[in-house]
């Protein structure tokens, strides 16, 4: 596991910079004034229970969320701007692919949209370990396989920032480990990853963490830092201590 030293940040080193973000969904203030910075080239984990605002934050970063106020800058441009559509990959929690097309047909279509070369299709299929299902209709795949098709779709265009909303839910442990290895390979290659999860044991696999609770940041830092700060043995306890202290 990489242990990235915290360093003074210049905006160049930032993949995402958020200032005073307020988001209201369904009349409810989900993110009440939120500021955050995410560094480039590492795997940042967004941890928090269901309903803590993870998905809303992710949607704001990807630029599909209507926000009330605040600034979200992604890779140097305002979130959701046209030039980011090629540079940011987004995988929603529910797989967003065509259930009536095969794995290859799905990837073929999105490769055309992204103007990605055809050999990327087989590469990404290998990356998400779906080689045995290439010509299977997505609707007949298991839930975990479907979410991997969705992930493959986001990988096609080699995005500089990859935002994944609970990508490992329902996957078997071996596959989960392999996917996390893939995430770190991508990060080693320069990709920035933001991965949300509500499972604390995944937090250990991240370089940097954002702990979220009820729309507010409880703590940020590397897993080691958070343990040190709280003198806790594991991150679950650290989270609890930090949540109670905040």
């Amino acid at each position: 596991m990489l242990e990235n030293p915290r360093r003074t940040m210049s905006t160049d080193g930032l993949a995402v910079s958020i200032q005073d973000l307020r988001v209201r969904r369904g009349g409810h203030l989900v993110l009440p004034g939120f500021s955050l910075e995410i560094r480039r080239g590492i795997v940042t984990g967004l941890l928090g229970p269901n309903g803590s605002g993870k998905t809303t934050l992710i949607r704001a970063i990807v630029g599909v969320q209507i926000v009330e106020s605040g600034e979200v800058t992604v890779l140097g441009s305002p979130a959701g701007s046209r030039e980011l559509r090629r540079r940011v990959g987004y995988v929603t929690q529910a797989p967003s692919v065509y259930g009536d097309l095969t794995v290859r047909e799905n990837l073929h279509y999105f490769a055309r949209v992204l103007d990605a070369p055809d050999d990327r299709i087989d590469e990404t299929i290998r990356t998400v370990a779906l080689g045995g299902h290439t010509d299977q209709v997505v609707g007949t795949l298991s839930g975990g396989e479907r979410s991997r098709v969705s992930l493959a779709t986001a990988l096609l265009g080699r995005p500089q920032l990859l935002v994944l909303d609970e990508p490992t839910v329902g996957l078997d442990p071996v596959l989960r480990r392999d996917l996390w290895a893939t995430f770190h390979e991508l990060a080693a290659g320069g990709t920035t990853l933001l991965v949300s999860s509500h499972v604390m044991d995944e937090a250990e696999r991240c370089d940097d963490l954002i702990l979220l609770r009820a729309g507010r940041i409880v703590a940020t830092g590397s897993p080691a830092e958070l343990r040190d700060r709280t003198n806790a043995d594991d991150l679950e306890d650290a989270f609890l201590l930090l949540a109670e202290a905040s």
Binding site: G26, V64, R85, P95, S96, Y98
Partner: protein, 244 residues
């Protein structure tokens, strides 16, 4: 807009339809079935069958594509693929025109099959050129599709989307002039029918089958094209990059 993305979208929509064999069979076989039914409903009244049959060949695609496209777009919305597409380098018109191209292809096949059965097997008779009926069928299909794509934005469930057919298409069908000439309807209805798209779709077909290929037909086609563009533009405004 990009030709690459538009064509890829059309290909993708056609591939999805091809996978749904039963829908495809229904789309292609229901019009000939209804025409056959009509022939024996108007048993021994060939004149009536010849008046009603040919325009119907061109109206069926309008209705079918309205339904199919509104459900297809609703699925894009509820399945999350629309949100994904809106976060990708894809212009809204790439999506809408892609759908239009795909459904135009299906409508061409549907219209041809209906024309083949109607004019070939069932002995439908028309004074005008049959190819023009098929061409108008395709134009009407694209119009029906554009309206379906736009209206689907106002449906949250497939149940609602299906109800839009009797709510929006059936009244247009009743007022279009096929069942009762428009000047014999209540004056209010005649005025209402003046602003309904299907009125012009029917009028064009009626003139084509009567071999009345003049300025009025050209005007009808222009109005159909105008309604199609308007519905596509309105449809584009319902595709949001950002949602609440």
């Amino acid at each position: 807009m990009s030709a690459r993305v538009t064509l890829a979208t059309a290909g993708r929509v056609l591939r999805q339809l091809r996978r749904d064999r039963r829908t495809l069979a229904l789309v292609l076989l229901v019009p000939p079935f209804l025409l056959t039914l009509l022939k024996y409903v108007f048993y021994g009244q060939d004149e009536t069958f010849d008046r009603v049959g040919p325009p119907l060949v061109g109206i069926f695609p309008f209705v079918t594509m309205f339904l199919v496209s509104s459900i297809a777009m609703l699925r894009e919305r509820t399945g999350g693929t629309l949100e994904r597409l809106m976060s990708l380098p894809l212009a809204k018109l790439d999506l809408l025109v892609g759908y239009g191209l795909a459904f135009a292809v299906v409508a061409a096949v549907q219209g041809s099959v209906a024309a083949l059965v109607g004019f070939g097997l069932l002995g439908l008779d028309t004074a005008g050129p049959i190819w023009l009926v098929v061409v108008l069928a395709v134009a009407n299909a694209v119009l029906g599709m554009a309206l379906g794509l736009f209206l689907s934005a106002f449906a949250r469930t497939e149940f609602q989307a299906v109800q839009f057919m009797p709510a929006f298409v059936l009244p247009q069908f009743l007022l279009a002039g096929l069942l009762v000439p428009r000047d014999q309807m209540a004056r209010v209805l005649e005025l209402v029918s003046d602003v309904l798209p299907m009125t012009y779709a029917y009028d064009a077909l009626a003139r084509a089958t009567a071999d009345d290929l003049g300025r009025r037909l050209a005007l009808d086609v222009l109005v159909i094209a105008g309604f199609t563009v308007l519905a596509l533009v309105l449809g584009a405004t319902t595709l949001r990059r950002r949602t609440p």
